[in-house]
Structures are given as structure tokens and as C-alpha cells.
């Protein structure tokens, strides 16, 4: 594998985040290949979520740099990287609770218009987006709820809606923060199929606890422990690594799910 022309879409070097007297992420070098599904795993407190928030610019790194598509995005603002095609999901299901399911998706499609400062225009101009919004709503199995305020959906369905909203942006790269967290078995299978389906022509980096999902979906896995990279490789390699096994058992979490 190594040495072959590696097309890297996102890389970090020496990425570090210190909170008062505590280093959550410590010198992480990460390389995500274009078109791959890359998983970031590790026991609780390994720094996965901090790492994720650094990549999506919701936190500013103390040291190190982040390069996306050859562009240094270390100091960019979150809205700007979304405009570059790097879009994140949230661990706590992030929907717009008072908007209908369809409008949740449509607000993402609306980004195609550029900025929407036109307060004098009727929202009827957005009607042309309704069909595509409904198509995406359907793709995640929420058609029957299209008209319902998103806040009234069950947890699993909110996650599904969030994925539909993210996909509406047609991002080049998706950052998924524990897409399966808190989901029932049926939902997990559906979202897993959905992620596999949308991974065509896209790069996906995800933080995920559900190791069976990680095993079946990811091309490459990076294991974090105490803020540092512990191991990297495909599932077979990583899962046999004694340091990884020890880190998981040592943390008392074990192979969750």
C-alpha cells in the first residue's frame, strides 16, 4: 500500500489541543485517503471527540496544522470549511426542532443559492427545492414524517434526518460524529447501508463506538488512546494489535455493542 500514489484529502500534522493543564489531543498525525471510509476509534477519553471538533474547527488547536485538499484550514472558521465541502454531523442529534422534516433538509439545499439575505422575497422561490428535499427524506425512510416538526421525531429518526440534511449539501467529505450512538438495531443497519451507499465518490471520516459497524464499513482505522495515535491500519491489523486490546480492556469499556 505505502509508496503507491496516495491521494490524501485531509491530513493533520502534530495536531495538539491543551485545555488548562490537560492535553486532550497530543501530536496527532492523521492522513485520510480520498474516497475511503476512515474510522477514528478509541476508549472513552481517548480524545476522539476533541480531535473531531478540531477537524471541524469547532475548537482551535493549540499546535499543529490541518490541510484539506492542499489548503491549510487550521485557522478557518467552521462555516468556511463547510463551504469548502467538508461537512460534519453532531453526536447529539442536530436537527432544527421547530422546522418540519422536509424543511430541515431544504435549509441545507438552500445553500446552493449562496447566501440567503433576500428578506423581501417570498419563500415560494424555495419550492423548486422541495422535490429534491423529499427525495432525500425518502432515502432515509422518513417520508411519512415529512410534515412533522423535527423535534417530535424519535432519536433514531433524528439521526437519519441529520444524515439526510448533511447529504443535501453533497459534500466532498463527511465527518460523522458517532452516527450510530443511541440507535436501535434496525436503525443501525439502515444507517450503515446508507453510509455505504453515500460513500461512493466521497470521503468519510467517522468517530464510532460500535466496533461491528467500524469493522464492516471502514477501509482504514486509526486508534487513539490518551490523545495519541496508538495504531493504524485495516480492521484485521488493528484488532490484533496487543496495545489496542490492552487499551480497550484497560479502560474497562471492552468491545462495546
Amino acid at each position: 500500500m505505502r509508496g503507491m500514489s496516495e491521494d490524501i484529502i485531509l491530513s493533520t500534522s502534530g495536531l495538539t489541543k491543551e485545555f488548562a493543564g490537560f492535553t486532550a489531543v497530543n501530536g496527532v498525525d492523521l492522513k485520510v485517503r480520498r474516497g475511503s471510509i476512515h474510522a477514528l476509534i478509541g476508549p472513552n477519553g481517548a480524545g476522539k471527540t476533541t480531535c473531531f471538533n478540531l477537524l471541524t474547527k469547532f475548537l482551535a488547536p493549540t499546535k499543529g496544522s490541518i490541510v484539506y485538499n492542499g489548503q491549510d484550514i487550521t485557522r478557518q472558521k467552521p462555516a468556511e470549511i463547510a463551504r469548502l465541502g467538508l461537512v460534519r454531523s453532531f453526536q447529539i442529534s442536530a436537527v432544527f426542532p421547530q422546522l418540519s422534516v422536509m424543511k430541515n433538509v431544504r435549509i441545507a439545499l438552500q445553500r446552493k443559492r449562496g447566501d440567503s439575505f433576500d428578506f423581501w422575497r417570498s419563500e415560494d422561490v424555495l419550492k423548486s427545492l422541495d422535490a429534491e428535499a423529499l427525495r432525500l427524506v425518502e432515502a432515509v425512510g422518513l417520508s411519512t414524517f415529512a410534515d412533522l416538526p423535527a423535534g417530535e421525531l424519535s432519536y433514531g429518526r433524528k439521526r437519519a434526518l441529520e444524515i439526510a440534511t448533511t447529504l443535501a449539501l453533497d459534500p466532498e467529505m463527511l465527518l460523522l460524529d458517532e452516527p450510530m450512538a443511541g440507535m436501535g438495531r434496525e436503525d443501525v443497519e439502515r444507517i450503515e447501508a446508507l453510509i455505504r451507499k453515500v460513500s461512493a465518490n466521497r470521503t468519510i471520516l467517522m468517530v464510532e463506538h460500535n466496533l461491528s459497524v467500524v469493522a464492516s464499513l471502514s477501509d482504514r482505522i486509526t486508534v487513539l488512546a490518551r490523545g495519541q495515535v496508538l495504531a493504524e491500519g485495516d480492521y484485521a491489523t488493528v484488532s490484533k494489535d496487543p496495545r489496542v486490546v490492552e487499551a480497550y480492556i484497560g479502560s474497562g469499556v471492552g468491545h462495546a455493542h
Partner: protein, 330 residues
């Protein structure tokens, strides 16, 4: 997955358009009803009282645009209302501007003030945002107190001429003035309705609901917040400017912090985040102040009791409760 793909899209699509249509029809009916009511009101009620209600209703509508649809709690909206009132009164009295130009000047200055204060306040969120808006509004109050050459200090600007509309139609008569105020009120309401239901309004609602998510979709949230702040300030200014012409008076009461509190009260009593709630809220509060005036200081007590009852029993306000009962946004 196959199941999900075979789900019935047309049905879902139809449901969406039908509800929206029904709501649109209902809102149109309310608008027509309101227009009729406003047109006949001066024949059954005291015109100056109705004009007062309309000015405060517009003020509350502007405030509700910011809090109900932008999710931003300003505790200093008296600054825009009051400053516009001074500008309108000053230009009409000292520069001899026609009423429409005086009102326009007040509105523009309020929008400008909103742009400056808004850009400072939106850097902070929640309670800090509210505190900054309050602090800035207090600065406006002290400025008004300290510049009697402009504001008339404790006396305010009195006997402001109502003037002639476009230099032609005298507004000295209450009825003539009434219809000018009615047009301003209805136009303001329609504009706010349009803002709420525009592509811009959609983004504002998304930011109100979940700001980090809106940002992660690529929306520069702060620019939208500033834009809605400026619109709200300018519309509050429109209300204040008009009020100055109606009562021929601009005074410290208009910039006092209690005015900021009153507009919060009107909006909450009527129904926060409903289109028509602030109008009902303004009607309730202004009526109480007028018809219970004989109770003197007790008005404040009655107001307080009503506020407490509202918060305890109808947290969604009068229109909010109706909206829930008929399952339609109002």
C-alpha cells in the same frame, strides 16, 4: 433500505403542500379581517387610542421578529424606539420636515443605531447578549438626558407639528392621521410577515433552532443575526417615529429601560414566535394602561399579576395557546 426507498413520496409531498396552503389561506383571512377591523375602528373607538395600540403593536412585532424568529433577546429595544421618536420629533419641529420624511429619518437612524449596537452585541450569546443590549440602551438614555438641546431633556420635545403629508394633506385631524398610521402599521406587519416567510427568514429560524448546526451547513450565522437585528431595530424605529407624530411628543419615557421591558411583556402576553401575537399583546397592555389609568400606581401591579398568570398558565401567550388549539401556526 429497499423498504425505505419504496416509501410513498407523492403522499408525503402532498401532505406538505396542503398544510402550507391551508395555513396561507388562514393567514390571508386574518390579514383581511384585521384590515377591516383597522378601517372601521375609528368609528367605534377613540382614534388616538387605536393609533397608540398600532404604534405599540408595530414595536412589539419588530421585537418579536428578533426574539421569536431570530432567537435573540434584546433588552434594550427602547433605544431604537426612543431614538427614532426623538429624531422624528426633532426633524419635524426644528427642520420642518413633512411627517413622512420625519418618520423615515427616525427609522433610518434607528436602523443605523441597530447596526452599530447589533454588531457589538452579537459577539456574545444568551444572557450576555441581553446584558450588552441593555447596557447600550442605558447609554442612549443617558445621552438623551444629557443633551437637552436635542432631546429637550426632562421636558422632551413637545408640540411636534403633525404637518402635512407630502406637504399636501393636513394631518391635524385625528381621522386623517389615523389612516396614515393604519397604512404604516399594515405595511410594517406585511413586511415582517414577508421577512419571516422569506428564504432569509428560513435561515434565521434555523439559526434560532440550532446555531452550531446552521454554521456546519455553511451559514455565516453572525451575518444573519446582524441583519435581523438591524431590520428589527429599524422597524422599532418606524413605530417610535410614528408615535412621536401621533402624540406630538418625544420624551425620556420612550428611551427608558421600562419601555424595553414593556415590549417584552407585550410579546410574551400575545405569544412569542407567533406572527399575530404581539398585536394582541399590545392591545391588552395598552388597554390596561388606558382604561385602568384611574387605578394609578396599581396598573403596574395589575400588569405584574397578568404577567405572572401568563407565565404560569399560558406560557405560549394568548395567540400561542389558540395556535396550539387549532394546530396551525398563527
Amino acid at each position: 433500505m429497499a423498504d425505505a426507498l419504496s416509501a410513498d413520496v407523492p403522499a408525503g409531498g402532498l401532505a406538505v403542500t396542503e398544510t402550507t396552503k391551508g395555513t396561507e389561506r388562514l393567514h390571508r383571512a386574518i390579514f383581511i379581517g384585521l384590515a377591516v377591523l383597522v378601517a372601521v375602528a375609528p368609528f367605534v373607538a377613540y382614534p388616538v387610542f387605536v393609533m397608540k395600540v398600532m404604534c405599540f403593536a408595530l414595536f412589539a412585532l419588530a421585537f418579536n421578529l428578533l426574539l421569536g424568529y431570530g432567537g435573540l433577546l434584546s433588552f434594550g429595544h427602547a433605544a431604537y424606539f426612543g431614538m427614532a421618536s426623538y429624531v422624528s420629533a426633532y426633524t419635524a419641529k426644528n427642520w420642518g420636515l413633512t411627517p413622512e420624511l420625519a418618520i423615515l429619518s427616525g427609522t433610518l437612524i434607528a436602523g443605523l443605531l441597530g447596526a452599530v449596537f447589533g454588531s457589538l452585541a452579537i459577539r456574545r450569546q444568551g444572557i450576555y447578549f441581553a446584558m450588552i443590549t441593555l447596557a447600550l440602551a442605558q447609554m442612549v438614555f443617558f445621552f438623551s438626558l444629557q443633551t437637552p438641546r436635542f432631546t429637550g431633556g426632562e421636558d422632551g420635545i413637545q408640540s411636534v407639528p403633525r404637518g402635512k403629508l407630502f406637504g399636501l394633506i393636513s394631518l391635524a385631524d385625528d381621522k386623517a392621521l389615523y389612516y396614515v398610521v393604519a397604512v404604516i402599521f399594515m405595511a410594517g406587519l406585511l413586511l415582517i410577515y414577508r421577512i419571516i416567510h422569506s428564504p432569509f427568514g428560513q435561515v434565521c429560524k434555523a439559526i434560532r433552532d440550532n446555531e452550531p448546526r446552521a454554521i456546519s451547513l455553511g451559514y455565516r450565522a453572525n451575518r444573519y443575526k446582524l441583519a435581523v437585528f438591524v431590520l428589527s431595530a429599524a422597524l422599532a424605529g418606524l413605530a417610535g417615529s410614528t408615535k412621536a407624530i401621533v402624540f406630538q411628543l418625544a420624551s425620556l419615557t420612550d428611551v427608558h429601560w421600562s419601555m424595553s421591558g414593556e415590549v417584552v411583556l407585550m410579546t410574551l402576553v400575545g405569544g412569542l414566535g407567533t406572527v399575530f401575537g404581539p398585536i394582541v399583546g399590545a392591545l391588552v397592555i395598552v388597554s390596561m394602561q388606558n382604561y385602568l389609568a384611574s387605578l394609578g400606581a396599581w396598573v403596574t401591579v395589575v400588569q405584574g399579576v397578568i404577567f405572572v398568570i401568563c407565565v404560569m398558565l399560558f406560557r405560549e401567550g394568548i395567540v400561542g395557546v389558540i395556535s396550539r388549539a387549532i394546530k396551525r401556526p398563527l
